[in-house]
Symmetry: C2
Subunit: 206 residues, 2 copies
DNA sequence: ACCTGAACACCGTTCAAGT
DNA sequence: ACCTGAACACCGTTCAAGT
């Protein structure tokens, strides 16, 4: 929660957090293109140079935003597989995969701009180790699901990384299409169960 | 100001084409973030206001760039299914799908920035009808492939749009992961045959 | 018709100076 | 330690004026 402006000489209580919070709102409401440090400083009631104290440059702010996004996504995915019917001992792969897909797509629908930002990282060596680690952690939920399933014989043999990639690419593709408005969000959510079924059972007739 | 000796008062032969060409090079070499109209005008040897005569604003230039990208991608995909072994009368679905996937991923690997631009369109009503049409045309190759296959009984029954979406999302997901450097391009290309196989045959054992 | 040059309102980043 | 205010070098966009 934000701190009340009790004693404030000219500085904020926790300017860094306040900047991130406002940046996230701007990102959500007006998109990444409308996010400027000066406007952000203005909205936070601080001089335009103040953000520079907390973020080396604009990219550092975007990185922090993305990192926060990964943490939220990670929590969402973990919760989806750890609670509800998908976590029941007898839950089959279809059910668990669907729960995971629903959670991921839900995040994509509710945070399209953030998701875009999270995946907009190029191979810039600048302090993006944290981000790379966050990506791996997020993929971890999916990897775990499939290695477990493989051990139970519920899934085809072969490199688990490749199998995970097929599922991840499929879900990420849906998310990307939604984020770029090439695919209607509601439509995608409505057809998600069938999508997962096709993914698991294949496009060829059995 | 240096002036060439040819007949060139102050205007270019075909400034619009020259701007697009230089913009495409900048996009490819330095990324979309480094693309500015003023710098582009400088590189093209023209005043910073000149681009405004040919493109309403920066977005219009980006739209033209994206449209050109769709046209090139469309030609690539059409060629992939219309020529080579994939076009043979006896070619099975696996082979044709692989050819299409290879063509799409190849385009993504060679034009990552352009592809990103092509899919960065939000739902802006401004003259993006051409772009929307281009997207549909591009998806057309995939749709045709699957409706044909469905008629031959090579593919599962059901809404062809949904089946196409599963394949499209999977390929687009791979492309997006490559473009954002979350996935190594060579690795993805090397595993593409297996990827298509898994997609067609399913992740569950038969 | 096509382009220029100046102007305007913005940027991100830096840095001496303030408190 | 944390922030300000001015400064610098950029932007995109517009428009009267030039050719």
């Amino acid at each position: 929660m934000p701190r009340t402006a009790t004693t404030r000489p000219y500085h904020h209580g926790d300017l860094r957090a306040a900047l991130l919070e406002n940046a996230e709102r701007t990102l959500r409401e007006k998109g990444a293109g409308a996010l400027s440090l000066r406007e952000l400083a203005r909205a936070t009631g601080v001089s335009h140079a103040a953000p520079g104290r907390h973020f080396k440059d604009k990219q550092a702010l975007l990185d922090a935003l993305a990192l926060d996004g990964y943490e939220r996504l990670d929590r969402t995915l973990t919760a989806a597989t750890a609670t509800g019917p998908a976590a029941a001992p007898g839950a089959d792969l279809d059910r668990r995969m669907t729960a995971l897909a629903r959670a991921y797509l839900g995040f994509a629908v509710e945070n399209p701009e953030l998701l875009e930002l999270m995946f907009a990282r190029k191979h810039e060596p600048a302090g993006s180790e944290h981000l790379a680690a966050a990506v791996d952690r997020t993929l971890g939920s999916l990897t775990r699901l499939f290695t477990d399933a493989q051990e139970r014989g519920e899934i085809v043999q072969g490199d688990p990384e490749r199998i995970t990639l097929v599922a991840a690419a499929s879900l990420h593709g849906l998310a990307a299409l939604i984020a770029s408005c090439a695919l209607d969000a509601d439509e995608a959510m409505a057809g998600l169960d069938e999508h997962v079924r096709l993914l698991l059972h294949g496009l060829k007739p059995r």
